[in-house]
Symmetry: C2
Subunit: 255 residues, 2 copies
DNA sequence: CGGCAAGTTGAGCCAGGTCAACTCCGGTGG
DNA sequence: CCACCGGAGTTGACCTGGCTCAACTTGCCG
């Protein structure tokens, strides 16, 4: 594959075009080498990554879209244990034996699967790339840990507030407004937060009634009171206890 | 510090004496250098690691004991979001701003805090050490993800069963029996699994009544029926529905 | 062996799960 | 462009697992 082809394949990929991401940190040779030993893949909602495909290409980089790790219980209960997005790099080497989760796309997704050998070589030789990948993995770990904390003891409203804030943290800093993109469906959101779709629905409505946010569409909310949202996410009972039903409406204010 | 001192300081530490762990992978020079730029620390239950101490020594390796990441909500609810044990290496560089969790010892703990500079240098230069640390971080991430799945949708009994199995996976393979060490107190366990101490207590009793395990002491259980424990942890409702009360006792068998 | 923290047991209650009916929305074909 | 269709989301009514609070027991450390 010529150097020109490499450019064509990788030029449009976020991992290359965003200077903070992995492929942007590579030297020309490394990028070329990795390009020769990687395969891009487009997925649609419900597509899963597993088995042989994974054992041959266990390093997965996400260019665009949302990928989930789903755990399925015997009786059909499903859980989304983690969400991965643009820039995340998953190392699934030798993962099959320990982890029962499947990698499932939650919408249109573009990924790039890399040969472990070339990836390992870059990791060993390019400290800058190593740092990027290391920090990404560390973020994944801390995100998962924070998420555990969110779903362990928080109640429905608090979980939802935390999720909106998590989306806010992860989304591109567009700089303009307080409109937050919700990149997953209601069902997925429910599975991610360990609750029912019905409860998610009621929760958003409740947050709207409290004047904390507006549900613009199924894909976006607008934060109207960030400080309040934070306090709810943080388990402040003074806020929660002000009931949010339309009947007993009350002007919200800070203490 | 002479080479002899280095040996004295590190010889008794699991990270050095266990060949699979980080310090065992270092060259003589690297070990010496790292030893000069690290501080061991003994902690007791409730001691926390924070602030300046962390910003100067943000790389923490655990020699012995159990360390938790605890998240505290405004109204006092506490969650243990993750548990770290022997061999785990925590990279807490630049962590203060994103993560509200505190690092708290759950009992007697020995840790070693390393200077980030030397650590980074080893990571860049010693591929073998890099691999060990990388895989440890990856394990931490997947453990956290699995844990999210455990607490999201499982009910009390299932969470407990999962926890016992998690302990089984993490504990030294002593090879002999099915006695599993429970390295944390009931309260901590409850906080880790997102439930109340009372529920933990009732859960263990229930598992005993079902003949799945014996609670030997507060610190250990003996698995009597591993397959059943696995099925419970896996959310098999056929098993759960056989009520475990002492009254309606019933010989458990497989389908 | 006394004192206190940790754990257990019991009774009652409520947040959120469940089930069923309804509405909304996006895509498709006439 | 609109009518239709099916899946996704919402709403309502009811029910239950596990939280709560309080009293009791156990285990641990000096």
């Amino acid at each position: 594959m010529s150097s020109h082809d490499v450019k064509k394949k990788c030029k449009s990929c976020a991992l290359y075009s965003d200077s903070k991401l992995f492929c942007a940190s590579l030297s020309g040779n490394e990028l070329c080498d990795l390009s020769d030993h990687s395969r891009t893949l487009s997925m649609k909602r419900g597509d899963t990554l597993e088995g042989d495909a994974l054992s041959h290409w266990p390093i997965v980089a996400i260019d665009d879209g949302v990928v989930s790790i789903q755990h399925l219980l015997q009786d059909g209960r499903k859980t989304i244990a983690a969400l991965f997005m643009r820039g995340d790099i998953l190392d699934l080497r030798n993962i099959s034996n320990r982890n029962r989760g499947a990698l499932v796309a939650l919408g249109k997704v573009n990924i790039c699967r890399m040969a472990p050998k070339v990836f390992a070589q870059i990791m060993a030789e390019n400290p800058n790339s190593q740092k990027i990948v290391w920090e990404n993995l560390r973020d994944q770990a801390f995100r998962a840990i924070d998420h555990s904390a969110d779903i362990a003891k928080k109640q429905a409203l608090e979980k939802l507030a935390s999720f909106v804030l998590e989306c806010r943290n992860r989304q591109e800093i567009t700089g303009n407004t307080e409109v937050i993109d919700i990149p997953v469906r209601r069902v997925d959101l429910a599975e991610y937060l360990g609750m029912q779709p019905e409860t998610v629905s009621r929760g958003f409505k409740d947050l709207e009634n409290r004047g904390v946010l507006d549900v613009i569409s199924l894909k976006a909310v607008k934060i109207k009171n960030l400080q309040f949202l934070r306090r709810i996410a943080d388990g402040d009972k003074d806020v929660i206890d002000e009931k949010g039903d339309p009947g007993s409406f009350k002007v919200l204010q800070f203490g």
